[in-house]
């Protein structure tokens, strides 16, 4: 009986040859771009404590993590790199001179719901600049992102640059607490929609903030008014007494009666979150409306923030960063300033950006996160920024020329001994050629002349060296040029030169 086949997990993929070679080459090109900007390689474990990403990465990511408990330890597969890199910084590198520039590449994991399982494992290639504040560092990251796209052969990508400072400033002005701010930032896309469409988002956020059921609406009615008219202490006493008289025990479970009463009273005095959310929605929609090329958007946004009584520092940040960015290149890439954008991660504090392909696919994203070091236990507040590419996105967006290379095998030559007794001479020739830096495949199955020529043709391997006893005895071998359909007898001493000569023709 045949044993059943075993398949890879939905959302993961096998990278097969020769396609994988293309991916590796792309990774190498991006890594060398990062190196030329002075970013040194770092690597961190794929397996991390779940807590690392719960701390500051935000709710959206928390619910998408591959997390599990193994021997009483809460673990997860990393959903992104930045938190891991900063953890490594906090654990081992706080005494190093700043700024510290690091680059990384590797798989990240996010659980997508079954109907959208295309990518549960993605390859991120990115860089972080730790310990540099201000638009100059932001500009370096932007410039590096663009350089990498050029190296990857991606054309016509466009940049969207935002800044969380504007929205966070408004939310602070509205007096929203941390949780409400976090929810608003995670829903900025929804809140930026038309008033009708965003109304639903406002309602959902209001439910999350204040509850949606009737029993959640404790802040109305005579009892609520009475309690609100009392001081906090008196209100707690009244409530506790009421429960005692009604013979309702608040003991049992892990919360104390005081805690329960305190929260009950908090519910009775909870302000309605809807007006604040509507205001935020309106504000974000205005920001979206004012989005555009820097020369239009920057003055308009400045004016708008001023009208709202908000600091225009975020706009000035963006303006300066874009000026610096522009000085890296002769020609500026297509770019939109849009302060209504957020990224999926909650730790960003300042300038953020995303890069999209012509078809709208996301290629890269990043930004500034000045609080993360401290949140992950760092001694001091260390400003930092960074970004990463999604390799799978880049591959899809790369120009046809970059993809063409995928057809050709990376093997230069096949060395084919005809019989067992030829193995030694063939291995010797292969070793010589490898020492000369060539990629040499040895036919260890003694397939014969025809089989090897056919296979080389199929795989676009340019040369095949046939090693058989007769020629070996004469100190030579037969070199087949597959594309030219020619063959020549080459003396051993001239082998390397002859092969290099012919390969040059294919370079």
């Amino acid at each position: 009986m045949d044993l059943p086949e075993i398949y890879s997990i939905p959302g993961t993929r096998d990278a097969l040859p020769p396609q994988r070679a293309v991916e590796r080459a792309l990774e190498a090109r991006l890594q060398s771009v990062f190196s030329r900007y002075g970013y040194e390689p770092i690597d961190t474990p794929i397996l991390e404590p779940t807590e690392l990403f719960l701390r500051k990465s935000g709710e959206a990511i928390a619910s998408q993590m591959y997390s599990f408990t193994y021997w009483n330890r809460d673990l997860c597969l990393r959903p992104e790199f930045t938190a891991s890199v900063i953890r490594a910084y906090v654990n081992h590198m706080q005494d190093r001179a700043l700024p510290l520039r690091v680059q990384y590449a590797g798989p990240t994991f996010r659980y997508e719901r079954p109907h959208e399982t295309r990518h549960r494992q993605l390859t991120e290639i990115g860089a972080e600049c730790i310990g540099a504040a201000g638009p100059g560092a932001d500009a370096e990251i932007l410039a590096m992102a663009l350089s990498g796209l050029e190296a990857a052969g991606v054309r016509n990508a466009h940049f969207v640059v935002g800044h969380l400072g504007a929205v966070l400033g408004l939310l602070a002005q509205l007096g929203m607490d941390v949780r409400a701010q976090s929810l608003v930032v995670s829903e900025m896309e929804g809140l930026a929609q038309s008033p009708n469409d965003s109304a639903e988002v406002v309602e959902r956020l209001a439910t999350m903030l204040a509850g949606g059921t009737e029993s959640d609406q404790l802040s109305q009615g005579a009892l609520a008014e009475l309690l609100q008219s009392q001081g906090a202490e008196a209100a707690a006493e009244i409530t506790t007494t009421l429960f005692e008289r009604a013979n309702l025990s608040l003991d049992g479970g892990s919360r104390s009666p005081e805690e329960i009463v305190a929260r009950l009273l908090k519910k009775t005095s909870r302000p309605d979150p809807v007006p604040g959310l509507r205001r935020a929605s309106h504000f974000i929609r205005e920001l979206r409306h004012l989005a555009g090329p820097p020369d239009q958007a920057v003055p308009a946004l400045r004016r708008f923030l001023g009208e709202q009584g908000l600091d225009d520092a975020p706009v000035r940040d963006v303006e300066r960063a874009l000026e610096c960015f522009g000085s890296y290149f002769d020609e500026a890439p297509p770019l939109v300033v849009d302060l209504s954008r957020a990224r999926g991660l909650r730790y960003y504090t300042g300038l953020i950006f995303e890069v999209y392909a012509e078809d709208g696919a996301r290629l890269a994203g990043g930004g500034r996160y000045d609080d993360l070091v401290r949140s992950l236990g760092g001694h001091e507040t260390v400003p930092a920024c960074g970004f990463s590419y999604v390799l799978e996105g880049l591959l899809a967006a790369a120009t046809p020329k970059a993809k063409e290379q995928s057809a050709r095998s990376s093997v230069d030559l096949v060395v084919a001994p005809i019989a067992d007794s030829d193995y030694g001479a063939a291995a010797h020739s292969a070793a010589l050629l490898r020492r000369a830096g060539l990629s040499v495949e040895m036919d260890v199955g003694f397939g014969g002349v025809n089989v090897n020529l056919r296979s080389a043709t199929q795989r676009s391997i340019p040369l095949v060296l046939i090693v058989d006893e007769l020629k070996v005895g004469a100190g030579s071998a037969t070199l087949h040029d597959v594309r030219a359909s020619s063959e020549a007898t080459i003396p051993s001493a001239e082998l390397v030169n002859a092969v290099l000569e012919r390969l040059k023709a294919y370079a």
């Binding site: 059943p4 086949e5 398949y7 890879s8 997990i9 939905p10 959302g11 993961t12 993929r13 096998d14 990278a15 097969l16 396609q19 719960l54 709710e59 928390a62 619910s63 809460d74 079954p114 399982t117 990518h119 941390v178 949780r179 929810l183 439910t207 999350m208 204040a210 509850g211 949606g212 059921t213 029993s215 959640d216 429960f243 309702l248 025990s249 608040l250 003991d251 049992g252 479970g253 892990s254 919360r255 009666p257 329960i260 009463v261 929260r263 009950l264 519910k267 799978e392 996105g393 591959l395 899809a396």
Partner: protein, 346 residues
């Protein structure tokens, strides 16, 4: 050799009784020679072998293919099913064994009436480095529900049994457990959270696609079982109503009746001549029979009265067959669906 179709059904007291009753009502009486034995057969389908197992194990037996079909609670299936599973839910609702997976908190948590309250507590505790611990035997469903409701900071406590005791024993704050009446929760001084129903479930029929796909004989046996179950379940939603209606001709009565959509029947009324006794023997009477939805029976009776009916009877239907067994068609498609090999290039 004739092939045997292996069907596993629950062995726990209540689910076992209800399942045996259900199968009997479907015309598939379970014959068990000895009540202590874990094997039985179906009188009308001798090629079917029945085994009894714990409801929670049934999913695993069908998954591994040691049995072909299983009846178990949908809660178990929803918890254990994977997206690329060999297990296929053939019939989601068998109409009995209703239960719900609910979030429950201590009765003393008077400030908690909704899932929102829990999300707020979890967020508050998060900032105090306190953890909301949830004891449950259904970690997958519970985790997803909490995520869907904006609760991201919690830990799940795996608990074999006596889940209800977890909050009072102090190893979890709240629980997510199966309840059918709520009595056990109350006895343990717990209350369900208003909108905290994670899943409403009932008994369902599952199949191993690969095992059935290998054997046309097993598929045919499965078809016969599905025909019976579907016909029984469908019949329960209808009643047959017969009314005596006065009218000139068959056509006139048909027009009279069909003017009322409530009594137009599934396809149309069946009308037969009634030979009336004196003193009505000079009048033309017809018996009109239609099938109507059970829950619309009173509407049908009223409509018949408006159409001039004198006396009406309603009878239960044993089985209602349609032109094909829909769940069997679904099963065939699932069996034919081969495993999707994930793409290798992005």
């Amino acid at each position: 050799m004739t092939e045997t179709l292996r069907l596993v059904i629950p062995s726990s007291a209540r689910m076992e009784d209800e399942t045996v009753q259900f199968l009997a009502a479907c015309g598939l009486p379970v014959k068990r020679t000895n009540p202590r034995q874990y094997r039985a057969s179906i009188g009308t389908l001798p090629e079917v072998e029945i085994t009894f197992q714990r409801a929670s194990d049934i999913y695993a037996r069908v998954h591994e293919g040691t049995v072909d079909l299983g009846i178990t609670g949908y809660d178990v299936v929803a918890e254990y099913q994977r997206e690329d599973d060999e297990v296929f839910v053939v019939m989601r609702e068998l109409g009995y064994g209703h239960c719900a997976l609910v979030l429950a908190v201590p009765e003393s948590w008077v400030d908690v009436t909704s899932v929102h309250d829990l999300s707020e507590i979890a967020a508050d505790w998060r900032s105090q480095a306190r953890e909301l611990r949830v004891a449950t035997g259904y970690p997958n469903l519970t985790r997803q529900f909490l995520y869907d409701h904006g609760i991201n900071y919690f830990s799940l406590v795996d608990s074999g049994g006596a889940l209800e005791a977890a909050p009072s024993l102090g190893y979890a704050e709240i629980i997510a457990d199966i309840t059918s009446s709520g009595v056990t929760l109350r006895e343990n001084r717990l209350k369900p959270v208003g909108d905290g129903t994670i899943l409403a479930a009932e008994a369902c029929l599952i199949a191993n696609r690969a095992e059935l796909g290998k054997s046309p004989a097993k598929l045919e046996l499965t078809r016969r079982i599905l025909e019976s179950m579907e016909a029984y379940l469908r019949a329960r939603t209808f009643v047959s109503v017969t009314a005596n209606v006065q009218g000139e001709t068959v056509e006139a009565v048909a027009r009279q009746v069909m003017a009322h959509p409530e009594i137009a029947g599934l396809r149309g009324p069946t009308i037969a001549r009634v030979y009336a006794k004196p003193p009505h023997d000079d009048e033309d009477w017809y018996a009109v029979t239609v099938i109507v939805a059970r829950k619309r029976l009173q509407d049908a009776v009223d409509a018949f009265r408006r159409a001039g009916a004198a006396d009406m009877t309603a009878v239960e239907l044993a089985y209602t067959f349609e032109k094909q067994a829909w769940s069997y068609e679904g099963l065939l498609r699932a069996v034919a669906g081969t495993h999707q090999v994930p793409a290798t290039t992005p």
